[in-house]
C-alpha cells in the first residue's frame, strides 16, 4: 500500500511542527502578497508519525542489501560498510557545520579532509587530489574536463583544438562514453582481444593528433588486469593524448600497484566502492580525482591545504586554471568523512589486505564455478577482484538465460551478479564477491548456481518463472516503459 493510500485529509503530526504557526494555506498569515502564494495543498502524506515509521520500516525489509544478503554485484564492490563510519560521521559536530562556516570554525572537519587527500594520494600514486566530485561519473567528468583544459592550455594558451577524440575500450562502463560526450568529445571505441586485454593493434591505428586521451579501467571491467598498460600509456602519450583511469576497480589493487605508476594522468576513485561508504540504494557516492604533476592546476575546487598547522579552503579565487566547482559546496562531505574513517580503520596494511582477499575470493569462486561446469569468459586469466561467467551455453541449450539465472538466485537468498555488462560478453555474469565475505558464503552461492543449473536442465520453466519467494514475481518492464505510471494520481 502506498503511503498516500494511508493518508487522511486533516491528519497532522503536531510533534513535528513548529508551534504557534497557522497552517491554513489559504490565509495570508505572512505579509507575503497573495500573487506569490500557493493556493492548493501539495500531495504530501497526511499520516501520523507511527504510520510513517511503520510504512518505511516495512518497505525497507523488501530490499536485499549488504547487511542482509550476499550481494556480488560486479563492478560495484558491495562490501561491508562498517557501522562506525556512519555513527561517527553523524556526530552532531559534523552534522551541524554549515558549509560556508569560516575556516576558524571548521578545523576539525578540514583536518579530516586534508588527511583524506593525503591518504588518497598515497593509494593512487597521484600528485594531488581533489575530493569534490560527487560520484564516479562526476569524477570522470572532472577528469575529462581537466584533459580538455590541459589541451586548451597548450601552445602557449592557444590550445590544441584538433584533439577531439576520446578513446574508450568496448568493455568500458557506460559512464565513460557518456562523460566524454558531456565534455564534447567524440568517442572512439577500441576493441578487446580474446584474452580481455585491449587490442593494441587497433589502439595504434586509432591514436593520432585527434586523440585527446583514453579512458581505461585497470583491472578492466572484464575482471582481468591489463598487462600491457605501460605500452598503452606510451602509445597514447606519444600521440599527445592523456590517460584517464576509471578507479571503480581500485579495490583489486590497493597497495599492490598504483595508477600513477602505470602512467595515468588522471584518476577518479569511487569511495562508495573501494572505501566502503554506503551505496544507499543508489547513492550518495563520492568520486575524488587525483592527477599527475601536469594536471594539478586544473583540479576542481574546493580543496583543503595546510599552512602552519592551520587548514584552509582553496577556491576558484586562488586557482585560476581550475575547471572550477562541480557542486555548490564541497561535494558529498559526509561521504568523505565515512571514507576517511574507513581508511583509518584499515590503515596501510589493511588496505593492501583488501586487495589480497578480494582477489582471493574472486579466484576461489571462479575456479570452483569452472570446476562445476560453468564457462568462464577468460579461462586463461587470473581473476582480479571479479570475474565473468558466460551463460550462453545455458541460453542456447535450455533457453535459460543470464536474467533467468539472476532472478532464480534471488529465490536462493543471493543478490544477482551484474548481468549483461560488459556488453561484449554474451549472457554475462560479472561476479564480485569482495573481501568481506566468508568462504561459507561463497560456497553457498556456488551451490545455488549448481542447483539452478540442474533446474535449467530438468525444469527450465521453473527457472524462467523466478523469483517465487520475493515480495513480487518477475516484473513487466515493457509495460512499465510503455504505459508510463510515474506518479500516483489517487
Amino acid at each position: 500500500m502506498l503511503i498516500f493510500e494511508q493518508s487522511r485529509t486533516g491528519r497532522v503530526n503536531t510533534a513535528q511542527q513548529p508551534a504557534n504557526v497557522s497552517s491554513d494555506i489559504n490565509t495570508a498569515t505572512t505579509d507575503i502578497p497573495d500573487e506569490f502564494l500557493r493556493t492548493d495543498k501539495p500531495l504530501l502524506p497526511e499520516v501520523s508519525e507511527m504510520q510513517a515509521v511503520r510504512h518505511y520500516t516495512k518497505l525497507s525489509t523488501k530490499n536485499f542489501s549488504i547487511d542482509t544478503h550476499f550481494y556480488p554485484l560486479g563492478s560495484c564492490t558491495m562490501k561491508y560498510n562498517p557501522r562506525a563510519c556512519n555513527t561517527l560521521a553523524m556526530l552532531p559536530g559534523f552534522l551541524n557545520r554549515h558549509p560556508d562556516s569560516p575556516a576558524n570554525m571548521s578545523q576539525g572537519f578540514l583536518a579530516c579532509m586534508y588527511d583524506l587527500q593525503e591518504i588518497l594520494k598515497d593509494v593512487t600514486g597521484m600528485k594531488e587530489v581533489s575530493l569534490s566530485p560527487m560520484a564516479g561519473a562526476q569524477g570522470e567528468f572532472a577528469g575529462i574536463a581537466m584533459i580538455r583544459a590541459y589541451h586548451d592550455a597548450q601552445n602557449g594558451g592557444k590550445g590544441d583544438p584538433e584533439r577531439t577524440e576520446i578513446l574508450v575500450p568496448d568493455a568500458a562502463h557506460g559512464t565513460n562514453p557518456a562523460t566524454a560526450t558531456m565534455c564534447n568529445f567524440k568517442v572512439r571505441e577500441i576493441p578487446t582481444n580474446s584474452d580481455g586485454d585491449v587490442d593494441i593493434e587497433a589502439l595504434k591505428e586509432a591514436v593520432g593528433p585527434h586523440t585527446a586521451g583514453i579512458m581505461l579501467t585497470n583491472p578492466s571491467t572484464l575482471g582481468v588486469f591489463e598487462r600491457r598498460i605501460k605500452e598503452i600509456a606510451d602509445i597514447v602519450h606519444k600521440a599527445g593524448g592523456l590517460l584517464y583511469y576509471d578507479g571503480a576497480n581500485l579495490n583489486a589493487i590497493l597497495g599492490k600497484v598504483k595508477p600513477g605508476d602505470m602512467g595515468f594522468d588522471v584518476i577518479h576513485m569511487n569511495l562508495h566502492k573501494t572505501f566502503s561508504t554506503p551505496h544507499g540504494g543508489g547513492g550518495p557516492g563520492a568520486g575524488p580525482v587525483g592527477v599527475s604533476e601536469r594536471l594539478i592546476p586544473f583540479l576542481p575546487v574546493p580543496m583543503v591545504t595546510k599552512v602552519a598547522d592551520e587548514y584552509h579552503i582553496v577556491t576558484e579565487k586562488s586557482n585560476a586554471l581550475s575547471i572550477g566547482r562541480l557542486s555548490a559546496f564541497m561535494g558529498n562531505a559526509g561521504v568523505l568523512l565515512r571514507a576517511y574513517i574507513y581508511a583509518r580503520l584499515l590503515g596501510r596494511d589493511g588496505m593492501t589486505r583488501v586487495a589480497e582477499y578480494a582477489t582471493l575470493n574472486a579466484n576461489y569462486m571462479m575456479k570452483k564455478l569452472e570446476k562445476a561446469g560453468f564457462e568462464l569468459a577468460f579461462p586463461n586469466r587470473k581473476a582480479t577482484h571479479e570475474f565473468i561467467v558466460t551463460l550462453k551455453k545455458q541460453a542456447k541449450e535450455h533457453n535459460v538465460n543470464a536474467m533467468d539465472f539472476a532472478k532464480r538466485l534471488l529465490d536462493y537468498g543471493y543478490h544477482a551478479p551484474t548481468t549483461y555488462f560488459p556488453l561484449l560478453v554474451p549472457e554475462c555474469f560479472l561476479i564480485e564477491p569482495t573481501e568481506t565475505e566468508t568462504q561459507d558464503e561463497l560456497d553457498g552461492f556456488i551451490a545455488a548456481m549448481i542447483k539452478i543449473q540442474k533446474e535449467a536442465e530438468t525444469d527450465a520453466e521453473k527457472v524462467k518463472g523466478a523469483p517465487y519467494t520475493l515480495p513480487v514475481r518477475r516484473l513487466d518492464d515493457v509495460k512499465a516503459a510503455k504505459e508510463l505510471d510515474l506518479t500516483w494520481k489517487g
Binding site: 497552517s23 551541524n96 550518495p284 510515474l486
Partner: protein, 456 residues
C-alpha cells in the same frame, strides 16, 4: 584483520582450490616493474575505539554554532525518525535497484518521492535525484537545450539573482557543449529581476532560468517572467527551494502555462547541514520532456501474477544503455538522501511543511527588524522575501564575522565576493529552529560589537 573474515585455514583451503601457492601468486599478471612496495603515507590502522575518540575530538572542535547562514544550505529541524529509518541496513547498504524484485522497498519509496516532488513543484513527473542543487541546474540547462527543438543557438538567460555557486557550476559543466550563458542584472532597489529590464527582442534563447526565492531571498515576479520567456520561445527553468513550495506558488502554476523544468536543492527536506553534503538535487518537468530527463526514473507496473510492483524505467535515456548518447553521464545519484527526504515529507506532511516555511519566514522577518533596530545595519532590498535577506552592516563584514564566530555565532554568509556593488553585505537567514532569544542574542551582539570596534 579488519573486516576480513578469513582464518589461516580458510586461506590455505582456498589457495588449494585455486591451485596456487600464495595470495601473492594471484597478482602475477601485474608486470613486476609496476608493483608497488605497499603504502607509506596512509597511517597505521587503528581500532574502532581509537578512531571513535579521534572523530569525537574533531567533531567537538567545530562545536555547535548558532547558525544564521543559509545561502543554499538551511538548518531545519529533522525528526529523529528520519535518519533512524534511513540508516537501516536495508536502505543504507543496498545499491541501485537493478534487481527490481529484490528492491521493492527502495523502488516504492522512490515512486512515492516522485509523486511528492511532482506535486510540490506542480510538475507532471520527477526523477529520482541528481547530485545537488547546483549540478541539477546544470543538468536542467542541458535538458532544456535538448528539449527546446525550436531553439538552435544554445543560449541561456541566467539572472544574477541565481545563486552564484549554481551559476558557476552550470557554467563549468555546460561549457564543454558550447552553451552560452547571458547574464541578466538585477534591480538594486528590489534585489530582483526587474521585468522592465528584460530585452525587447532577445533573439533565440533556449531557456530562461528563474530562481524563486532568489539568492537574496527575494521573491521574483515569476508570472511575468515566465510568460515573457514563453512568448520568446524560451523554456522556463525554475530553481526553487522545496520548503518554500509549501507556501509559494508552484512552478507549474507560474504565468499562463507554468515552468517547463523545475530543479533545486533538496537539502532542506531532511538533510543535515553536514558541511555541504551529501544533499540531493531534484528535478521535475512536464511529461512531454520525460525522455530528455537525466537520472533514474521509477515506474509502476505489474508482475507475472498481475500484482503491482515498481521498477526502473525509461532506462534507454541512461548511460548504461545509451552510452555516449545518454541524456547524462549520471549513474550513482543521491538515493539515501531521497530516502530521508521522503520520510521527512511524510512526517511533516503538507501542513507541517507549510508551518516550517511560515515560521522560517517570520523568524527572518523578526531578525531583520531586530537588526535594523540596532541602527547598525539595514536591509538592502525592499521586495518581499522568503526566509533570507541581505543586510548591510556598518562594520567590515570580515571583522564582524571574526568577532561573531569567536562567540560561536555564524551571522550569515558574506556575499561581497560575488556582489561587490553591495558593499558590506551579509545574507542572513533564521529558520524555524531559531527562537526569539537566539534572534535577540544576534542583534544584541551586533550592537555590542559595532560599538566595541567603532570605539576601538
Amino acid at each position: 584483520m579488519p573486516f576480513i573474515p578469513h582464518t589461516e585455514e580458510d586461506v590455505k583451503s582456498m589457495l588449494a582450490a585455486i591451485g596456487v601457492e600464495s595470495i601473492e601468486n594471484l597478482f602475477d599478471e601485474i608486470p613486476a616493474e609496476l608493483r608497488a612496495e605497499g603504502l607509506t603515507k596512509v597511517p597505521e590502522g587503528v581500532s574502532e575505539m581509537e578512531i571513535a575518540r579521534i572523530m569525537h575530538g574533531h567533531a567537538e572542535q567545530d562545536s555547535r554554532a548558532l547558525c544564521f547562514a543559509g545561502a543554499g544550505a538551511y538548518e531545519h529541524h529533522i525528526p529523529a525518525a528520519v535518519w533512524e529509518i534511513t540508516t537501516r541496513g536495508e536502505f543504507y547498504s543496498a545499491y541501485t535497484p537493478y534487481q527490481a524484485e529484490a528492491s521493492q522497498g527502495t523502488l516504492q519509496l522512490l515512486y512515492e518521492y516522485q509523486t511528492m516532488m511532482a506535486s510540490l513543484t506542480g510538475m507532471d513527473i520527477s526523477n529520482a535525484s541528481l547530485y545537488d542543487g547546483a549540478s541539477a541546474l546544470a543538468e536542467a540547462v542541458l535538458m532544456a537545450i535538448r528539449a527546446n527543438r525550436k531553439s538552435k543557438l544554445k543560449r541561456i538567460l541566467m539572472p544574477r539573482t541565481v545563486n552564484p555557486k549554481y551559476r558557476k557550476v552550470a557554467h563549468n559543466i555546460c561549457k564543454g557543449q558550447g552553451i552560452t550563458f547571458e547574464e541578466l542584472d538585477f534591480d538594486l532597489e528590489g534585489g530582483h529581476i526587474n521585468p522592465g529590464s528584460l530585452p525587447k527582442d532577445p533573439g533565440d534563447i533556449a531557456a530562461l532560468v528563474i530562481p524563486q526565492p532568489n539568492y537574496f531571498g527575494v521573491l521574483e515576479d515569476i508570472d511575468v517572467l515566465t510568460d515573457w520567456a514563453h512568448e520568446h520561445g524560451a523554456l522556463v527553468i525554475a530553481v526553487v527551494n522545496p520548503t518554500s513550495l509549501a507556501l509559494l506558488k508552484a512552478p507549474g502554476s507560474w504565468g499562463e502555462i507554468g515552468a517547463d523544468i523545475t530543479c533545486g536543492e533538496g537539502q532542506p527536506l531532511g538533510a543535515p547541514l553536514s558541511s555541504g553534503g551529501p544533499y540531493f538535487g531534484f528535478m521535475a518537468c512536464r511529461e512531454k520532456y520525460v525522455r530528455q530527463m537525466p537520472g533514474r526514473i521509477i515506474g509502476r507496473t505489474v508482475d507475472l501474477d498481475g500484482k503491482e510492483g515498481f521498477t526502473l524505467t525509461l532506462q534507454a535515456r541512461e548511460q548504461h544503455i545509451r552510452r555516449s548518447k545518454a541524456t547524462s553521464n549520471i549513474c550513482t545519484n543521491q538515493g539515501l538522501l531521497v530516502t530521508a527526504a521522503t520520510i521527512y515529507m511524510s512526517l511533516v506532511g503538507p501542513d507541517g511543511l507549510s508551518k516550517v516555511a511560515k515560521a522560517s519566514h517570520t523568524n527572518t522577518e523578526n531578525l531583520v527588524k531586530k537588526l535594523e533596530d540596532t541602527g547598525n545595519t539595514r536591509r538592502l532590498f525592499n521586495r518581499p522575501f522568503f526566509h533570507e535577506s541581505v543586510m548591510q552592516f556598518d562594520l567590515q563584514t570580515d571583522e564582524l564575522m571574526k568577532a561573531m564566530s569567536a562567540r560561536s555565532i555564524l551571522p550569515g554568509v558574506i556575499i561581497s565576493d560575488d556582489y561587490p556593488e553591495l558593499g558590506n553585505a551579509i545574507l542572513v537567514c533564521a529558520t524555524e529552529t531559531k527562537t526569539e532569544a537566539d534572534i535577540e542574542m544576534y542583534s544584541d551582539l551586533v550592537a555590542k560589537i559595532t560599538k566595541d570596534l567603532q570605539s576601538a
